[in-house]
Amino acid sequence: MIRPIASLGRGTLEALSALGRASMFLAQSAVGIPSREGWHLWLRQMHFIGVMSLAIVLVSGLFIGMVLGLQGYTILVGFGAEDALGQMVALSLLRELAPVVAALLFAGRAGSALTAEIGLMKATEQLTSMEMIGIDPLRRIVAPRLWAGFISMPLLTVGFSVVGIWGGYLVGVQWLGVFDGSYWSNMQSSVAFVDDILNGMLKSVVFGLVVTWIAVFQGYDLIPTSEGISRATTRTVVYSSLAVLGLDFVLTALMFGELG
C-alpha cells in the first residue's frame, strides 16, 4: 500500500523538478539582447529552422488545401451549397489546420534536429568547454535557436495558409468549376481578420515557443551517450506533438469556444 503511493509522490516530484528546470532554462536562455556576433548566430538559425523548413511546410499546405477543396466540394455540392467552399477552406486552414500541421511538421523536421545537435555538443563536451573558456552556452547556443524557432513558426504558418487557400482554389474553382467570385466573396464575408487570422497566428506563436523550448531543453538535459541522444530526439517529437495538440484544444476553447 505504501509503495505505490510513494512511487506516485516520487513521480510527481520528478515531473515538477523537470518542469522547474525547464522553466529556469527558458528564463535564462531567452533574456538579453544578442550582441553583433549574436545576431549572426541568430540569422544562421533562422536560415536552418525557418528557410530550410519552408519547402516541406509549403508542399504540405498545398496538398492539404487541395484535399479540403476536393472533400468540401463533394460534401457541399450535395446540398447545393458549393459556393460556401471558399469559406470552409479558409476557416479550416486559418483556425486549425495551418497552425497545428505546420507545428507538427516543424517539430518533426526542425525540433528533432535541434535536440540532436545540442545533444551531440553535450556528449562531445563542447558545452562544458565553452563554459570553461567563459562563454555562456545558454546565450551562445540555446538563445539563438530558441528565438529563431519562436519567430519562424508564425511565418511558416502564414505560408501554409496562403498556399492551402490557393490549393483549395485550384481544385474547387479551376478543376471542379465553383464560381470564382463566390469562392472569394464568401470567404471575405465570413473570415474576420482579428478573430480568425490573428487568433490563428497567436496559436502558431505559442506552438513555436513550446516546440522550440521542448527541443532545446531535451537536447541540453539529455544523458550524454548515443542512446541518450536517440531517446531525447524521440521525446522531442512525442512531447512536442502532444503539447501542440493539447494546447490547440485549450487555445481553441479560449478563442473560438464558449469557455472564453
Binding site: L43, L54, A84, L155, V162, W184, Q188, S189, D196
Partner: protein
C-alpha cells in the same frame, strides 16, 4: 563571406514572404479595406424573432450589400429583438419611412441577413430612426407546428 550574404538574403526573403502572406490574408481573404472607413448612418428595427442573425451580418437592398448589423439586443420595453444597423451614408434620406426589413437566409445553408425593401412613403428615414414594418426570421419549427395544427383542425 558570400555564403553569409546568401544566408542573409534567404532569411530576408523568408521574412518578406511572411509579411506579404499576411497582407494577402488581410486583403484578399478577410476583405479588409485599406481606405478611410466609410461614413455611415444608423437605423434600427425590432423583430419578433431574429433566428440566427448576429452582429456583423450583412444588410442588403435588392441583393446588394449596403451595410452591416452592429448590435443585437433585447428591447426591454417591447420584449422583442432590437437590431441596430449601419448603412452607407449615400442612402441617408433615400429610404422611405414605410420600408420593410426582413430577416432572410442566403441559400440553403447560408447565413442570415437583413433585407430592406423600399416602400412609397414620401417621408424618409433619418439617422437613428426605427423601421416599423418588419418580418421575422423563418423558423422551421413554427412552420411545421402551424402546418400540423392546420391539418389536425380540418
Amino acid at each position: 563571406m558570400k555564403r553569409s550574404k546568401m544566408m542573409e538574403f534567404g532569411v530576408g526573403l523568408f521574412v518578406l514572404a511572411g509579411i506579404l502572406g499576411m497582407v494577402f490574408l488581410g486583403l484578399r481573404v478577410s476583405g479588409i479595406s485599406l481606405g478611410v472607413p466609410q461614413d455611415t448612418f444608423t437605423l434600427q428595427a425590432n423583430f419578433a424573432n431574429i433566428g440566427g442573425l448576429k452582429s456583423g451580418s450583412r444588410v442588403a437592398m435588392a441583393g446588394v450589400t449596403i451595410g452591416r448589423v452592429t448590435d443585437v439586443a433585447l428591447d426591454t420595453e417591447w420584449l422583442d429583438a432590437r437590431v441596430t444597423m449601419e448603412l452607407d451614408e449615400d442612402l441617408e434620406g433615400k429610404i422611405s419611412r414605410d420600408s420593410t426589413a426582413s430577416i432572410l437566409t442566403s441559400g440553403l445553408l447560408g447565413e442570415q441577413y437583413v433585407g430592406l425593401s423600399v416602400g412609397g412613403d414620401p417621408e424618409m428615414l433619418e439617422e437613428g430612426d426605427t423601421i416599423r414594418d418588419t418580418q421575422q426570421a423563418l423558423v422551421l419549427e413554427q412552420l411545421i407546428q402551424q402546418f400540423v395544427s392546420n391539418m389536425t383542425s380540418d
